[in-house]
Symmetry: C2
């Protein structure tokens, strides 16, 4: 056989191998795979390097824009991944990682994910998903019932009627929020008379038809950033996402909301939707949903609740009432990759009215044909994996009572942490937890004392220095890799409109103990005394002593 | 200890267990996990029931809308999943499953997916993804270079400059297409003078500013259905997605395109974008991209190429030229879960100009802050998993040459299948493969013969009967579960505007042999003679004998 033909044949054989021959158990990848099966916590602890490399250093391993010409051995590639990717990733499951909305996952999620990936179903159509289609519809019904508690007859009627949908499964809360506002927009601008609807004629003709200058969405200024994207994408415009003042507990101010509704209506702009937040991303507060529902009813607009974070609070008999009024929402967003403990990439939007999603319905000739059971006719996304299976698994294996425990514990742990912050002389609690999120900052007792009596100018200057310190402590703590809190900026009433930087803590990981919480505070005190931060501390003490 | 406290404690302990104790290797779930590791093909073959249950039957296992109160044992749940979900799912990896765009996956994708899921990174921000962030940027650069072949200096300049992005990673091609048109719309309606841009002021004010009646997107009628969604979502309106006639090879008719451009401009509507298709979903054809690029340049609009399917043809030295002109596109969509052989849920959009995505840039206080490296500032989605890792793995392990082999083989296999269809007296090839997709139908030799000479009325009636037969054969073949082709409707020139139903075949699975292809045809012949289909055959023969 000539050389080139021989090598072509060898290439072909190698190619078939990667599709047909599993990794050997004693190969590098096989061993890692086994290690993760045996003990994922141990694997993550062993392989993720705690100490942070600079991102510029890490980038050096990922700076070749050329696709390799020749194949690489799986074992060599796995070594690379182990050293350069896994080692330099973030231990999001660590019980001391309390800065963002990730947590440890239940163990069964890993092998079940493998089944899901091995099956590689595509939920856009029944022909590539079969049983996954009714399963996803069941999951949507379960979450719908958690929110709306309709009758058995209601669910019996709608659960598998493919002309309608109780909601849409999506890759995350952003797509869920966009889908909710998309459906609301299309319902408001639905076909009537000669007007063929915004879906067909577009935004400009819709405004001409309605005789108005634009649409507006009203939400508290604590809203998630996805709503700005939604307003942009849907042609509403970010300026028509009206951000309403909040009270000192970060909940929308109803008087201000009414006032804003009047203001935009005077400008010829039509309120498309009010959005209530059930668990603000930064502070975990819940808007007065009942009052918002009343107002939405009064002015005749859509009422959406962004419960991406807080939705699962409904599992708790004790705390469910915090979300009172959510059952009156026209649509609700819930993220599964947050407090349903499903791996990244799963969210849902539920609609009270099973016909609501008809306003965004679409079809094609080769799939999602009229009358088919294909889920793709009512989703923003097209091809999608069978992630609903993992929600189904969580709901089944953990059960309502299991989730209730997780929720109750999170809220109680957050309250305990708030007490610890308050009991410590050198910390200032900025927002107390309503759900399981709180914010605070390092602020030495003497400075706190001085702040209470200082003039406006000094308060401003002190807060600016404290901001610098908060940023520096947060960064050093993150880089050290033992524990992690995030940071954000808030405008608490006590500082009269001044925006300050705070630590933000999310307590959803059931493995986070009180000892770990104590060590988070301890570490922050240590960083405050570290040579890189302590000059700020000295400055602060000087400034307040002078005042 | 009182009874209730005791049981609460037991519940809590169980809850910790699911977060800390792995499934035992000899548990039901442990055994399935091992079986998939050892031999995924065997697992799928063994557990997926070939014979199709009716969807109504399957629905019975998924019709309880109540979230279970009490936890379920993992082993019981796994049994349920095995019997009711896995057994009733679709064997999308089977070499005889040639009806949709799924294929067998390379083995290494499974253990690597487990690493990805165990790490549970969130790519929206560096704080929850660290090394995954530069890795995703590298993957985007690699695909950008595959399309645009810019210089080393270019990539060195842009690859890790977080103020810009060479593209966006998404959950699939639909989001990719929407992102492309979103960026194009915002660029066309960017801030100027007193106008603060469509992003801020919205669609209505943007049209007033531009002094036009709407925006239009022009694409061939063979476009993917996601573009209708994009037009709806972005406020353009489905009627302003102008569907242009195609030639007999399903490629956009340039004269018709020019004519449509004039027509909409006369109506005061501004062309926002031309869209070229590189691999139409139903027939795998490629638009004349070079000529479209010329026209887009001439009228000064965006040029997007939807290469969700065909993009990886660029790996092939032999067939790359089929996509000539793609390098002049302003944006290009490529799906990774199609011909990059990555599990479901991964797509990309690449932009020629690294500044293009600035038109949709957004920030928040607690993440994606100005100046941060967070990828979330330039994506439609928010929280996202680290799927880019699997693309990185594919590109590294398979290499450019490996993908070239896969592409070349697919195209050549499609040509071979087209020959087989043509050689068989009782089949009619409807669209020949340009890439690796073709369409055909069962059509007995005598009927084909008669069709060639029949009058228009008879042709119409014969085609209607053939449609019924095609639908029935496709359905029976799917239900029998041995092999699978999909179906769609096309309007081939030879039947002068009559829409007919055809079998659609996608040849991307490297394990699909010529024997399997032969058996697909054989099975279709058998179904044609089956008592449920053969009466149609008799009718056909009568009708054509009479004519």
């Amino acid at each position: 056989m000539p050389r080139s033909k021989e090598s072509a044949r060898a290439n072909l054989e190698n190619l078939y191998r990667i599709f047909t021959v599993p990794e050997a158990p004693d190969s590098t990848l096989g061993r890692i795979d086994q290690a993760i099966s045996d003990n994922v916590t141990g694997f993550l602890q062993k392989h993720i390097v705690a100490l942070e490399n600079s991102i510029t250093d890490i980038e050096k391993s990922f700076d070749d824009p050329k696709i390799p010409e020749e194949p690489t051995f799986v074992s060599d590639y796995t070594e690379f991944i182990k050293e350069k990717l896994v080692a330099q990733s973030v231990h999001t499951a660590a019980p001391g990682f309390i800065g963002h909305m990730t947590s440890a996952l239940p163990y069964f999620m890993l092998p079940l994910s493998r089944i899901m990936i091995a099956l590689n179903q595509n939920l856009v159509k029944v022909e590539t998903s079969k049983a996954f289609t009714p399963m996803e519809r069941q999951v949507l019904a379960m979450l719908h019932r958690l929110i709306y508690s309709e009758s058995d007859a209601f669910y019996h009627r709608w659960i598998h009627d493919s002309r309608y949908a109780l909601g849409a499964f999506c890759s995350g809360g952003t797509i869920a929020n966009i889908t909710a506002l998309w459906a609301a927009r299309n319902q408001l601008c639905s076909p009537s008379g000669n007007f063929r609807g915004i879906t067909n004629e577009g935004f400009f003709r819709a405004m001409q038809h309605l005789g108005c200058q634009g649409l507006a969405v009203l939400v508290s200024r604590r809203r998630h950033y996805s709503l700005g994207k939604a307003a942009d994408l849907l042609g509403i415009g970010r300026e028509n996402l009206v951000l309403v003042e909040t009270d000192d507990r970060n909940r929308i101010n109803m008087a201000a909301l009414r006032e804003q509704c009047r203001r935009i209506q005077d400008k010829g702009i039509r309120p498309l939707s009010l959005i209530g937040i059930a668990g603000t991303t930064e502070t975990g507060n819940v808007d007065p949903l009942e009052e918002m529902a009343d107002l939405a009813e009064e002015i005749g607009c859509h009422f959406h609740v962004d419960a991406a974070w807080g939705g699962p609070t409904l599992f708790s008999e004790k705390y469910r009432s915090l979300l009172k009024g959510i059952e009156r929402a026209d649509s609700v967003t819930i993220d599964a990759h947050k407090q349903l403990y499903v791996p990244m990439g799963a969210g849902m939007v539920l609609f009270k009215d099973p016909a609501a999603l008809s306003s965004i319905e679409h079809h094609a000739a080769y799939i999602i044909r009229h009358g088919s059971k294909d889920l793709g006719s009512h989703t923003l996304e097209g091809s999608r994996p069978g992630k609903a299976m993992l929600v189904h698994a969580g709901l089944s294996i953990i059960g309502r009572k299991g989730y209730e425990l997780l929720i109750d514990q999170g809220i109680e742990r957050a309250r305990r942490f708030a007490e610890m912050v308050q009991e410590h002389p050198d910390f200032e609690l900025v927002t107390a937890p309503e759900l399981n999120i709180l914010t605070y900052r390092y602020n030495p007792a003497s400075v706190q004392e001085a702040l209470a009596h200082a003039d406006a100018e000094t308060v401003r200057e002190v807060n600016e220095l404290l901001d610098k310190m908060t940023k520096r402590i947060q960064k050093r703590q993150r880089e050290a890799g033992k524990t992690f809190v995030s940071r954000t900026s808030l405008t608490p009433e006590r500082y009269r409109g001044q925006t300050i930087i705070v630590f933000r803590v999310v307590l959803a990981n059931p493995l986070t103990t009180e000892d770990i919480l104590a060590s988070v505070l301890e570490e922050q005190c240590e960083w405050a005394r570290h040579p890189e931060v302590s000059p700020l501390l000295d400055q602060l003490q000087e400034m307040t002593a002078a005042a």
